[in-house]
Symmetry: C2
Subunit: 429 residues, 2 copies
């Protein structure tokens, strides 16, 4: 018998890789934070002796969700009724910066979002916001995996005064977390419309040199009449597997072809206020051409940060807006919400699927619920029916962060208290 | 001091009537199942001495949701993967009846749906299904309020052999529940396309005589080339305040005008599989003309039966499909999900709002959650962000049916067990 830390035995297991599989009565053997084996529970009981055994007899185990794009701190703006346009809220992180946007705001907002995300089964998120060192600290303290965007702007903000300073501070942060097991960094020249060709080219050079991923928003228009935002990124040679492009709902041919060919990652991020008929965009077309897709979710734009909600919403929009295309299979949504996200963050080798050697970042959902029974296909149940109240456990690198539906490592009351204080402060501005 | 059964003191209270109000630090005094008073908690403490006092310091209290149309028993078909078209599932209750559709199926399915609905804050539902006496018994046993549709068909089914027998059995059931405090009945010539003019006219006559509400589905086409389904109902004089019309997403002028003028009730019911661009239809136009609107939710068509989910989905579809119309205010969605539904069921005097004299059918939602904090406007939080896991308590006629997020009066394990057995049986057909 092999001695291991933890054995989780579940009714069903969706490994994501191999694709489209649902394994019945399987177990995951975990040791020192990593998945050692995935095998039928009967075999697991003969092969392993675990310090802790978790039986989940009516549950489905899957990789923790990856939120491939968010502005976590904006969770605090949820209540800001006077700022009712979500689009405007999102931009607050970037331009027309209000004076109250400081490191404390970023800490309190990020911690609120982390609590929200963990309860929703998300184990890793990619963030883009000012004061990225605060986001990194918050994620690290919560033992949550995060890919921290290093903001690159030309305009001065409370965080940096010049393009040079953005790069300097960003790369210093990157060095700080170079060997961190949970925190990675990415370059975030996120609003290319506000940046010169020179700055974008510099970002690409730095990214290539240091093998950093790059997060950009691809708006419909580049601000230049002659060129779309996507065409500009192509001309400046930013289209590479290191790039993840957010807000690509409007992509059309031939950009769809070149997105797929260049191997960029595309993040579906629910449209702010749902105020666009673009809906989810050409997900199916991109997928058919082999492009890597991922899902992102922002608190100010769309309510809860949960990936269950995001998958369902995207599926709803897809079938409503494209009633004549084939329905996207449930397993595909789950792939995008896990491994697709992991790959978009450059973490495809570490997380995103339940495979031996990968980190034990897991989410466990109890399907014995009047909301989901009777279950024929757990993948369909998850995408179509399951709610957050069914998420029983979440592990990151083998450590419990949610158990019995409760956050185990965070002081939730303190987080909510601080959020309420910000709510009052913002309401009285 | 007045002696009362229960006092519920909440952070916020949304009474629905008067409209658009959020009352801070208010209490509800309940005696013998009815609301005695709604008043500031400070005053309530001076005026009432309650046997039970419920403090809900971070919660919002609102009337229990009314699901104004469902086919509850179809909850069992959720897992039937081989029957993947939700539209087809829905129709199973009506035509091409499979041999397994018996009273036991209806009981097990309805109990599953009731568990789902109660946990989701719904305190009253309108059902249309064969074996309505079984639905009535299940609702009554669960102490849930229900408006039971008495099916009127011309084709023989296991429940009745002729039009006459449908009317006879239905009206006998109506007599059985004539004085029931929880169960009311409605005529359900639900699929008018399958019925002759004579049968529809008879249904109207009976409804008028007995003051029964009438539930019909209004398909786009009546099956007759010369006349729309809506025009046919108008010609046969069925358009009256007793009528509730389901599936009216496709209504256009002048039908919108005549729907409003005749005082019929319109139930938005999420499209099966969301496979229509009709979306939610002309809700805003109907509302502007004073028509009464309500929301319905079916388990087979759309996953969870919750009204939070239904409101959010409808709001999402509205803003996606009609990006240029003004956003429907959160209070309006809440009105449709409560008082609008109550009125559509002929229960507008009894339930649907928090007013003295009405039944204490209530739903309590804890907004101290990383998903909803910080809260600026509780109505917006409910429609945009809140999840079922935040529904802490549900009362029906002053009796607790959900407390601390758990069903208090149902044997959930038994219900789930039976649902699983049906899932296996249906999968092996």
């Amino acid at each position: 018998m092999d001695r291991i830390d933890t054995l989780i035995a579940a009714r069903w297991l969706i490994p994501i890789e191999p694709a489209g599989r649902v394994l019945g009565m399987h177990s995951i053997a975990i040791h020192q934070g990593r998945i050692v084996a995935v095998l039928p529970t009967q075999q697991a009981d003969q092969q392993f002796e675990a310090d802790e055994r978790c039986d989940r007899p009516t549950h489905v185990l899957l990789p923790g969700f990856v939120n491939a794009h968010t502005h976590a701190a904006t969770a605090l703006l949820r209540g800001a009724a006077q700022l009712s346009s979500a689009a405007a809220l999102e931009q607050l992180g970037w331009s027309s910066l209000p004076t109250w946007l400081d490191a404390e705001y970023v800490r309190d907002g990020t911690e609120l979002a982390i609590a929200d995300m963990l309860a929703g089964g998300t184990t890793c998120f990619a963030d883009v916001h000012l004061f990225p060192e605060v986001v990194a600290q918050s994620a690290s303290a919560a033992m949550m995996r995060a890919c921290i965007g290093l903001p690159i702007l030309e305009a001065p903000t409370p965080w940096a005064a010049s393009v040079n300073e953005y790069f300097e501070r960003g790369l210093a942060l990157r060095d700080d977390y170079r060997d961190d097991p949970f925190v990675t960094t990415a370059l975030a020249p996120f609003a290319p419309n506000l940046l010169s060709d020179a700055t974008l080219t510099r970002a690409r050079r730095v990214a290539d040199e240091l093998e950093l991923t790059v997060a950009v928003s691809v708006d419909k228009h580049s601000g230049r009449e002659s060129e779309t935002a996507f065409a500009r990124l192509e001309r400046l040679d930013l289209l590479s597997p290191l790039l993840r492009a957010v807000r690509t709902m409007h992509l059309e041919m031939p950009d769809i072809e070149s997105a797929a060919r260049t191997g960029i990652n595309l993040v579906y991020y629910p449209p702010a206020q749902f105020d666009t008929r673009d809906g989810v965009g050409p997900l199916a077309e991109l997928d058919a051409r082999g492009a890597n897709l991922a899902l992102g979710s922002g608190p100010a734009a769309s309510g809860a940060l949960g990936m269950l909600e995001t998958m369902r919403r995207a599926a709803l929009l897809t079938s409503t807006l494209s009633p004549h295309t084939a329905e996207i299979p449930a397993h595909r949504w789950l792939h995008w919400a896990t491994l697709g996200g992991a790959r978009a963050l450059g973490l495809g080798e570490t997380i995103g699927s339940i495979e031996a050697g990968k980190s034990a970042d897991l989410c466990c959902i109890d399907l014995a619920n009047p909301r989901t029974e009777p279950v024929a296909d757990p993948a369909t149940s998850l995408v179509r029916d399951a709610g957050r109240e069914q998420i029983s456990d979440v592990w990151i690198a083998g450590r419990t962060v949610v158990r019995d539906r409760r956050l185990t490592r965070l002081d939730l009351q303190d987080i909510l208290q601080r959020a309420r204080r910000w709510g009052l402060r913002l309401a009285n501005l």
